[in-house]
Each structure stands twice: as C-alpha cells, then as structure tokens.
C-alpha cells in the first residue's frame, strides 16, 4: 500500500510538472515575443493542472501528517513562497485573460510566479526528502483501499472531459 500511495502522489505531481514546464516555456515565449496562442493554451489548461496538484497535496497532507507535525514549521517558508506565487498567478490570470491586451511586464511577472513556484518546490523537497529518509518515515496508508476504490470510477468519469480539455488546449496552441 505504501508503494501504491507513492504512485498515487507522484503520478499527479508528474503530470503537474509536465504541464507546468509547458506553461513556463509558453510564458517565456510570450514574454520574449508576443505569442497570443500560448496564452490561450495556459488559459485552457491552468485550472485543471492546478487542481491535479491540489488533489495530490490532499492525499499527501493526510498520509504524512505525523511527519508534518515535526517538520511543518521548517516547511512554512517554502510553502509561504509557493502560496504567494500561486495567489499572484491567480490575480494575473484574472487580469490578463479578461483583457484585450496585456502589458509585457505582466508576462514577466507571470513567468516569475512560475519560477518562484519551482524554487519553492525544490526547497520543499530539500526539507521533506531527507526527513523521510533519516526518520525512515512510513506514511499512513489506512485510507488507501477506499481512495483507490473510488479512484477507478472517478477516473472513468473524468477521463473523457479531461482529454477533451487538454486536446483543446493543444489545438488552440497549434491554430
């Protein structure tokens, strides 16, 4: 079950990272030269990409809560950085995607929020991973049978729209 839990955490995180890298690359592209199609991709994908991260984090914070009691205070600063970058990204998303024309510096700030997120994630892992290894921490998997059992039907329900939304995002990019 521990392996199942780690797979359950890492797969969404990996998906998040892949789409974040794409979004970072596209934001850089818009910042350097105006490329509005990139913005359309981000607009279509960001909500779901972030939700996938929230999903993984909800699993993490319950399964790892005994460990978080010990290292939570140390994790606060990378988490604070991540939170501020997320809130700023949300604000920019609303400002940029609901206006005809955005200013160049706004794209740079958007890019900065992504990069701050990457820094926060690396900082977070630099504290978390050694703590797991040195304490030989085993996460709580009590709820995993239920989480896995619900996962099948849930995936079946969302897979069609999920693929449709990302396919649309890539179509917007190619147009």
């Amino acid at each position: 079950m521990v392996v199942a839990l780690y797979v359950f955490l890492l797969v969404p995180v990996l998906i998040y990272l892949v789409f974040s890298v794409i979004e970072i690359w596209l934001t850089l592209k818009i910042s350097v030269r105006k490329h509005s199609r990139s913005l359309l991709f981000i607009q279509a994908s960001t909500e779901i990409t972030h939700t996938i991260l929230v999903f993984a984090y909800a699993q993490f914070m319950i399964a790892f809560s005994p460990l978080l009691m010990e290292i939570g205070a140390q994790l606060w600063w990378p988490i604070a950085l991540l939170s501020v970058s997320i809130l700023l990204r949300g604000s920019l998303y609303l400002l940029m995607f609901y206006r005809e024309h955005s200013r160049r510096f706004e794209y740079w700030v958007l890019l900065a929020t992504y990069l701050a997120g990457v820094v926060a994630l690396v900082w977070f892992l630099a504290i978390l991973v050694p703590a797991i290894v040195t304490r030989q921490f085993v996460p709580d998997t009590t709820n995993m049978p239920i989480v896995l059992a619900v996962g099948g039907p849930a995936l079946a329900i969302i897979i069609v729209p999920l693929v449709a939304v990302y396919r649309r995002a890539f179509t917007l990019l190619r147009k």
Binding site: A44, E47, I48, H50, T51, I52, L53, V54, F55, A56, Y57, A58, Q59, F60, M61, I62, F64, S65, P66, L68, M69, G72, A73, L75, W76, I79, A80, L82, S83, V84, I86, L87, L88, R89, G90, S91, L92, Y93, L94, L95, F97, Y98, R99, D140, T142, N143, I146, V147, V150, G151, A154, I157, I158, P161, L162, A164, V165, R168
Partner: protein
C-alpha cells in the same frame, strides 16, 4: 501578536476570502443549471444568454477558488499539522475524497466552457450537472470534517447533515440574492419594454427562489440550535449569553455579561430559549457557569448572532415585498429595486457571519473536548511578517476578481447585444 494569534489570523483571513468564492462556486452552477434547463425546455434565447453570463462569472470565481483553496491546504499542512493528525483517523478520508470532487468540478467546468458554443442546449445542460455534483460533493466532505470538529462523537452525525444542508442552502441563497441585486441594478437603466418585462420576470423568479430558501434556512437554523443545545452547549450559551443553567431560559437580544459573570441589559424574552430548543419553557438549558471562564468562547459571537438575525429580518422583509408584487402581477417599484442592490451582498455577509459564529463559538477548542486551538498549532511555527504579505495578496486577488467580473460582464453585453 504571538505565533498562535498570527497563525489564527492568517487561516481566518484565508478562509474568509475562500468561503465567498466557494459560495459562488456552488451557487452559480446551480443557477446555471436551472436557467439552462428552462432555456432547453422553452427554447428561450434570453435564458440562454443569462446562462452565458453566469458561466462567465463562474469561470472567474473558480479561478479564485482553486488558488485560495490550494493556499488553505498548504497552510493546514504546515501550520496546523497536529490538527490534521488529530482528525486523520476519523475524518482524514474526507480530505482525501474531496480531492476527487475538485477534479470532477474543475474538469467538467472546463469542458462546460469549452463546449459552450459547440453543442446543443440539452447536451450542454447535462455537462453542467457534474459541475454541481463536484462542488456540492467537495462541500459535503469538507463540511463533514468541520462538523466532526464541532461534534466528534462519530465521523458522521446529525451535526454533519445539519451543517452541510444549512451551509449549502445559504451559499445558494447568497448567489440568488447577488444575482437579484444585479438584475435590479440593470433594470434601473433605460430598457426596452420587452426587456423590462423580462427583467421583472427574472426578479420575480429569483425573489421566489430566495423566499423558498429563506424558509428552508429558517427551519434548518432552528434545528441546528436544537442540536447545539446537546452537542455544543457552551457555544449556545455564548451565542445567547446565558449566564447560568436554568429552565425557563430567556432569549436575550443585545446585552452583555458583566465582570461577575452575570448577563445584563438588552431585551429579555423569558422562557423563549427553552421553548425554542426543547419546545417547552421548562426545558433546562446549560449556561456559561458550567464552564471555567478560560474555556468560554469570545462573547462577540452574541453580537454577531444578533447582527445576523437583524439582517435576516431585513432581507426576509424585502424578499416578501418582492413576492407580494410579483404575486399581484405588478412591476417592482423603483424604490424596491434600488433597495435590492445593496441587499444583493447580504447573503455573503450572512455566510461570513454564520462561519464566524461557528468558528469563534467553538473556541477554545479546535476539536471539541479533544484538541485545543493552542495544541493544534505546529510546534515552532512562526509566520512572522508574512501575515501582512498575505493580506496584500488577498486584496490584489479581490481587486483582480472585481476587474475580471466587470470586464467579462461588459464583454458579454457587447457579444449578446444586450442592455442589461
């Protein structure tokens, strides 16, 4: 300010912002489905246009909801890890299952927007239904956790169902009132006769929804008070500033508790509290004297509750007037429509007041009888100066949201060639 106060303020501010967005994320899809159903069944283009406006608003709020929701989870895991560890064995699963509901909501909402102009109204209506299931599902799971904090007798209790239904209907009510306020505002502008008739019809419908919801909320609110008397008597005693355990317990509007711990002042209605919670004025209601004063919640909950009741009275009166005018098939007079504009926001004030009373009233506990708020804070957690940064960020997010709403509404008006 010590570390505990700072951490409490931070999570308090975050949740206060998040809850408004949550209310709209639940209420807007419900209204969208109701209007889209009507558009489908009656082939009504004006309703179809209304759905598009609400969908645009929902898109704005869902963005805010995802980002503020992430920040809530991040704070809980670092600053409040002992709390998560306390609730994990009994209700931790609900946090985990809530993740699925987020996915259902976000994925179907994105699909809903993507298919807005590409599929027929009927198919589009059905794509919108899982959005409501997702939003209500996540509300159920997270409210279950909160209900457990209030009444940890079992993972799911009567408190769960009362809290869930009461909050769910209050979110929908807040959204209905907001939209009613918006329609009333636009109806004051110069409109063509058919459009004015349509807006009047819409205000009537919304007024009826609001009236029905008010009745349901009143019944649920009363049942919650009855439940509170047995599951959280200290909270009820603080809300009603009942100083000592007694039968024939009074309901006090206004007033305060003096330094000797005796309630004084205000309007006192003898026996009414006993009659309300036990349907008999001989019912014994526990007072604050049963608890040491350091375990009392902040008695500001009494003032907040009085304020909430006053606002409910005012809103009920106005909604009743709307229903009377509609019933008599008359157009709403200008003064009533002007009054509806500020009242459009009262639903959210009521939602905030309700949650303030729930959360402040539970103090000094985080999980009643099991974990105090002081022991729920992660050891060594100190957010130092970051509180002010977060407050600035929430302000920026709120302003961006208002900007996006104004812009998208103007854009909708231009696209649909409408004047409201």
């Amino acid at each position: 300010m010590d570390s505990l106060d700072a951490a409490r303020q931070l999570i308090g501010h975050t949740l206060a912002v998040h809850i408004v967005i949550v209310a709209l994320s639940i209420g807007l899809p419900v209204l969208m489905s109701i209007f889209e159903w009507r558009a489908w069944r009656k082939n009504d283009d004006k309703m179809r246009a209304t759905v598009k406006l609400l969908a645009r608003w929902a898109a704005v709020f869902v963005v805010g909801g995802i980002f503020t929701g992430t920040v809530v989870a991040l704070q809980l895991s670092t600053l409040w890890a002992p709390y998560l560890n306390e609730v994990r064995p009994n209700v931790g699963i609900f946090f985990q299952l809530e993740g699925y509901m987020f996915l259902v909501e976000a994925v179907f909402l994105s699909w809903y927007f993507a298919t807005m102009h590409k599929v027929g109204t009927r198919k589009h209506f059905w794509i919108g239904i899982p959005v409501s299931i997702g939003t209500m599902g996540s509300a159920f799971f997270i409210t279950t956790v909160n209900a457990y904090m209030n009444n940890p007798a079992a993972p799911i209790t009567l408190t769960t169902w009362l809290e869930f239904t009461h909050s769910l209907f209050s979110y929908i009510f807040a959204t209905v009132m907001l939209f009613l306020g918006y329609v009333a505002w636009r109806s004051l502008r110069k409109q063509t006769k058919p459009m004015q008739a349509f807006l009047n019809f819409k205000m009537g419908k919304l007024g009826i929804y609001a009236a029905v919801l008010l009745v349901v909320l009143a019944l649920l609110g009363h049942q919650s008070a009855v439940n509170l008397a047995t599951t959280q008597p200290h909270k009820l005693a603080a809300i009603e500033i009942l100083d000592k355990t007694q039968s024939n317990a009074p309901l006090r509007i206004g007033g305060d508790i003096n330094e000797q711990g005796v309630a004084e002042g205000g309007i006192v209605l003898p026996g009414v509290l006993s009659a309300l919670v036990g349907y008999n004025d001989e019912t014994v209601v526990k007072g604050l004297n049963e608890y040491p004063s350091y375990q009392w919640p902040d008695l500001i909950v009494h003032t907040l509750f009085d304020l909430k009741m006053m606002l409910i009275g005012l809103v009920s009166l106005v909604v009743l007037l709307v229903v009377v005018f509609i019933w008599r098939k008359k157009q709403l007079p200008k003064w009533l429509r002007v009054g509806l504009i500020p009242l459009g926001l009262t639903g959210f004030v009521l939602v905030e007041l309700g949650w303030f009373i729930t959360e402040f009233g539970r103090q000094t506990w985080t999980v009643v009888g099991k974990q105090t708020t002081a022991s729920a804070l992660t050891q060594g957690a100190d957010i130092k100066g970051s509180l002010i940064i977060f407050i600035v960020m929430f302000t920026v997010l709120a302003l961006s949201t208002l900007f996006a709403l104004a812009y998208t509404t103007r854009h909708w008006r231009a696209t649909e060639k409408l004047s409201w």
